[in-house]
């Protein structure tokens, strides 16, 4: 369907959307261009509307902080799950190493013969030998 743009509608569009055709309603954009070619003072109207567009373009905003980026990612459910899975595997690896260490220790203890301590197992034994034997020696 062919859309005709009146002078009034052209003005309304500039008043609302400014001079940048990218902001104009898509359905009317081609008709606005056609209208521009036929109107002598359209360039003036465009220029007036463009002044505010230029001023609006001065606005700058800071980019998101690294901390915000990290926290947004951290609250993504699958990212949380991926972290949990990584933690689970790390825990499993740690447990495996610990178990293997315990088995190795037990195996080594069973293979090596016990150390004979003097007086070990006797009722009169002390850390320094037999009390009775020590007394007897005096």
């Amino acid at each position: 369907m062919r859309i005709e743009i009146t002078d009034e509608r052209f003005r309304e569009i500039l008043d609302a959307y400014g001079a940048d055709p990218a902001n104009w309603p898509g359905a009317e954009r081609a008709a606005i261009f056609a209208h521009l070619r036929g109107v002598v003072d359209a360039a003036v109207a465009l220029e007036e509307a463009g002044e505010l567009d230029t001023m609006l373009a001065w606005s700058m905003v800071p980019p998101p902080s690294v901390a915000l980026h990290e926290s947004v990612l951290a609250c993504a459910p699958k990212m949380r799950m991926a972290r949990r899975v990584r933690l689970w595997w790390a825990g499993l690896a740690l447990a495996t190493v610990a178990t293997a260490g315990a088995f190795a220790g037990a195996a080594a203890a069973s293979v090596l013969s016990p150390i004979e301590l003097p007086g070990y197992g006797r009722a009169d034994a002390t850390a320094f030998g037999s009390v009775l034997e020590a007394g007897n020696e005096e």
């Binding site: 001023m55 905003v61 947004v72």
Partner: protein, 179 residues
């Protein structure tokens, strides 16, 4: 409805970590800019953006393409979160009427880009909230008029009226010899 983010959202909803990272790279600066322009300072921006993405992660797995663009849905949620935040700050004006220009905008020395940016931001903050939303969605977020109207839950004519009133106010505030 053709959604340029459709495939990405599907992968995000399925838990594809690469897609999630890509989505954040793509949308976080855009949504942070939106919240910054609507809220005016960084105090609440990060809270609002964080909450927005919590909702995105919840919504993505059950998103059904075809009704609206995901980006438009995100803008609608962001607008609601910002409105709630402003309401809590008790900064909402009582009516959608014209606000007096900030005299500070005509102060000397507003010639550098940073100062100009501050001036534009102040002017935006002085707008009634619905006019500010319309201006930000069209000029800074580059939504189509239809998308902006959907995000704001208004008709096309109401959107144009908000835009035209907003532009008139901004022009009055910003057009000065210092700028």
């Amino acid at each position: 409805m053709d959604d340029p983010d459709g495939e990405l959202i599907r992968r995000v909803g399925a838990g594809d970590t690469q897609a999630i990272e890509q989505f954040v790279r793509l949308k976080l600066p855009r949504m942070t800019a939106l919240a910054h322009r609507l809220l005016g300072d960084m105090r609440d921006v990060e809270d609002v953006v964080q909450e927005l993405f919590v909702r995105v992660w919840r919504q993505a797995p059950r998103w059904r393409p075809g009704q609206a663009r995901f980006d438009t849905w995100m803008h609608r949620v962001a607008l609601n979160l910002c409105t709630d935040r402003l309401r809590r700050r008790r900064e909402l004006p009582l009516s959608d009427s014209w606000d007096a220009p900030d005299p500070a905008l005509n102060a000397d020395g507003l010639i550098e880009q940073a100062e100009r940016s501050v001036a534009v931001d102040k002017a935006l903050q002085a707008l009634p909230p619905r006019q500010r939303e319309a201006i930000v969605l069209i000029y800074y977020q580059h939504l189509t008029p239809q998308e902006a109207a959907t995000a704001m839950d208004v008709g096309a004519e109401a959107l144009e009226s908000l835009l035209a009133r907003g532009r008139r106010t901004l022009r009055a505030m910003l057009k000065g010899p210092e700028l």
